[in-house]
Symmetry: C2
Subunit: 412 residues, 2 copies
């Protein structure tokens, strides 16, 4: 599908190429998406997106996570607008700042306190800073290929990063207890923290649930060493369990990093922690010009109120289950094997024998042309706004997309 079929998108890309490096930066760069995918959007509502050329899609990326309740959720937007009419970024926070911290402490099982930032990367960075301040130690264990943000210490790209930015990171393998035990032996008394995502969700790789024995062992090793277990909930937060994604395992972190969903798309991040780390959290100095902005706080309070009142996780589970079952059935009927992985709330669809993602790319391009915005390599997201009718509409698109994959790639 040539780009000229989307003339406004093409024109904006051309203008952007002149004034933005690479025409776009970061994870929303359309260069990493299949042909035909738009770079620029005009609007969003519920689970629907409209690109600048007027094409409407049932969206399964949810802005790469932030959209939990539906784009422009009326209750969240009303709360944000009420606050905006009073003020946003002032000389100090407003009452919503306290309310939001109280909501998080109520909601998150391990949390005795909360503090706020803007980016998910801010939250993971602050959490590790607190762990280092608390312990007076330096080393942090982190799973190889896990994404914890895009600052020099964690960005997946090496350009512009120095060896010292990662001098105190020690790589382990997710779900491999032995690798963590070996790393603990290696760093000895210098272990400040282990940072880990609730499940394994690396780009282009099947998602993998955490092995409960692995999670338990991380908790034990941190307890034994007096180090902090940091759960990176930036991607999973409020989608698996609002109390913490490891609550069903009975394992609680010392610190957790939150962002994306907590204000349903308004820029906000948070770190929650236990009383044992409160003093360290008080001693570090980390701040940002907009971190106390009251509008995002008001949106956050409204979002958490809805999460407390409605069974958002259950809805995502039901809708995600329908999508997964529908895709599984189509995969069989078209003779095109796929591997679906991850919690159903965060679907990932990978094709068998597709090392170069050619099948996934064709599949997503064909689905997009029929109104379903999917991603071939990154886990997707569902929202409270997705209905059965939306899933049905998407499955019509994916049925044709499976047919196109079957036609292009012969399966004998």
């Amino acid at each position: 599908m040539p780009a000229t079929e989307q003339p406004r998108d093409a024109a904006l890309r051309e203008r952007a190429r002149r004034v933005v490096p690479g025409g776009m930066t970061g994870h929303l760069h359309a260069a990493m998406l299949p042909p035909g995918y738009p770079q620029f959007f005009a609007s969003g509502s519920g689970c629907r997106l409209v690109d600048v050329d007027g094409r409407e899609f049932v969206d399964f990326m949810c802005a790469w996570g932030p959209n939990l309740l539906g784009y422009r959720h009326p209750e969240v937007e009303a709360a944000a607008a009420r606050q905006q009419a009073l003020g946003d970024c002032l000389n100090g926070p407003g009452e919503r700042f306290v309310e939001l911290a109280e909501r998080l402490v109520d909601q998150v099982a391990h949390a005795d306190w909360a503090m706020f930032q803007k980016n998910g990367t801010d939250a993971t960075t602050v959490a590790l800073t607190i762990a280092r301040a608390a312990t007076g130690r330096r080393k942090v264990l982190v799973a190889r290929r896990a994404y914890h943000g895009a600052a020099p210490w964690c960005t997946p790209a090496p350009a512009g990063v120095t060896a010292e930015d990662r001098a105190h990171l020690v790589n382990v393998t997710y779900n491999d207890v032995g690798s963590v035990e070996a790393a603990c032996d290696e760093v000895g008394a210098d272990l400040a923290a282990i940072i880990v995502t609730p499940h394994r969700h690396e780009l282009g790789t099947e998602q993998q649930p955490v092995d409960p024995a692995f999670a338990r062992r991380l908790r034990e090793l941190c307890d034994r060493a007096g180090a902090a277990l940091v759960l990176d909930e930036v991607r999973t937060g409020l989608r698996i369990d609002p109390a913490g994604s490891w609550e069903s395992l009975g394992i609680r972190p010392d610190l957790a990093a939150w962002s994306k969903t907590i204000a349903n798309g308004h820029a906000l991040a948070a770190v929650t922690g236990t009383d044992a780390l409160r003093d360290a959290a008080t001693r570090i100095f980390t701040t940002g010009s907009f971190w106390c902005g009251a509008v995002a706080m008001a949106a956050g309070v409204a979002t958490l109120d809805i999460v407390a009142r409605e069974d958002v996780v259950g809805h995502l589970g039901r809708i995600g289950g329908l999508l997964r079952e529908g895709l599984a059935s189509q995969s069989v009927s078209h003779g095109v094997p796929v591997r679906q992985s991850g919690p159903v709330q965060m679907p990932l669809v990978l094709f068998e024998d597709d090392a170069d993602f050619a099948k996934g790319t064709l599949f997503c391009a064909e689905a997009l042309a029929r109104g379903a915005y999917l991603h071939p390599r990154h886990n997707m997201f569902l929202s409270l706004a997705h209905t059965e009718a939306d899933i049905d509409r998407a499955l019509v698109a994916t049925d044709a997309a499976f047919a196109a994959v079957a036609a292009r790639f012969s399966h004998t």
Copy 2:
């Protein structure tokens, strides 16, 4: 003034103490302010702030910088609301993203391109990452005590920071050419960048204009070494010269970091750069969940349109001049010597013989009680919303505050 005179503020502080480390974090913590200063605010409009107890102040902190045009500037808020009604954080940016980059490239003299973030710290960090990616080198010269953000590499507090976070920073002294030349000799071929604020604005110290010879020498040293000169405009941006704070000197940086004012309080940051650094800016990977949020972009476009259309800098200069003259006259008439420093758009008032800031603290507390919100140690800010009447009102408050200082501290 006991805190119980502000019962709502006191009650919120008590609640916050339970659920936020230290009751508050970062630069907006009221613990660093004089007695009677509120921690929590109800609303803002123009240059006026109302705290949660209903006290109204003529504000001279402007949210510590972001408020350039007035809180809730109608044109900016209308643009933001129009965009919010369409969508904010979607699967990609909107048209405003391109427009804003075009506006910055048009406005900023050195800029061939722009890229966006959320925090000022993001912008300074990204700028240094680009410089390192471009040069393949590691060392960055930075003035001792200069504030460039609050990530581990730059936060003024040591808690939780490792030596390696700053392994490649080399301290120099602002306006001391010899210190920079010595640092350049020391790092030799490993010089990636020099980062510098347009003028010297360290907490609790007189502001100092840049020595033009110092600025020129930085430019020469970067040119000679093939390193990047990074101008940190986070605090100064749009207040001194929208084209760049060193334009009057005829000295242009390779990269500049912007935030605070560029969307008049909506969370946004930007890096601007030259064509020579475009490739490096394309190769680094840095991103955030909300960096393409369209509402802040729309607010940014509206802000830059106003800056292009109205003489904001001139207004800040006139108003700032009136404040400075008024305070100077009161200082003389009360026999209480002060040192006023910095560009008049960013006033700082320090008292002679006041190493412990006791005079400044009393002065600000007394001014606050009479409706003027000043800061005893940090540079202040003016906005387009400040009128002569606001300055007159503030000068009534400061006249009484000078009298209180004169009464408490005898000057013989």
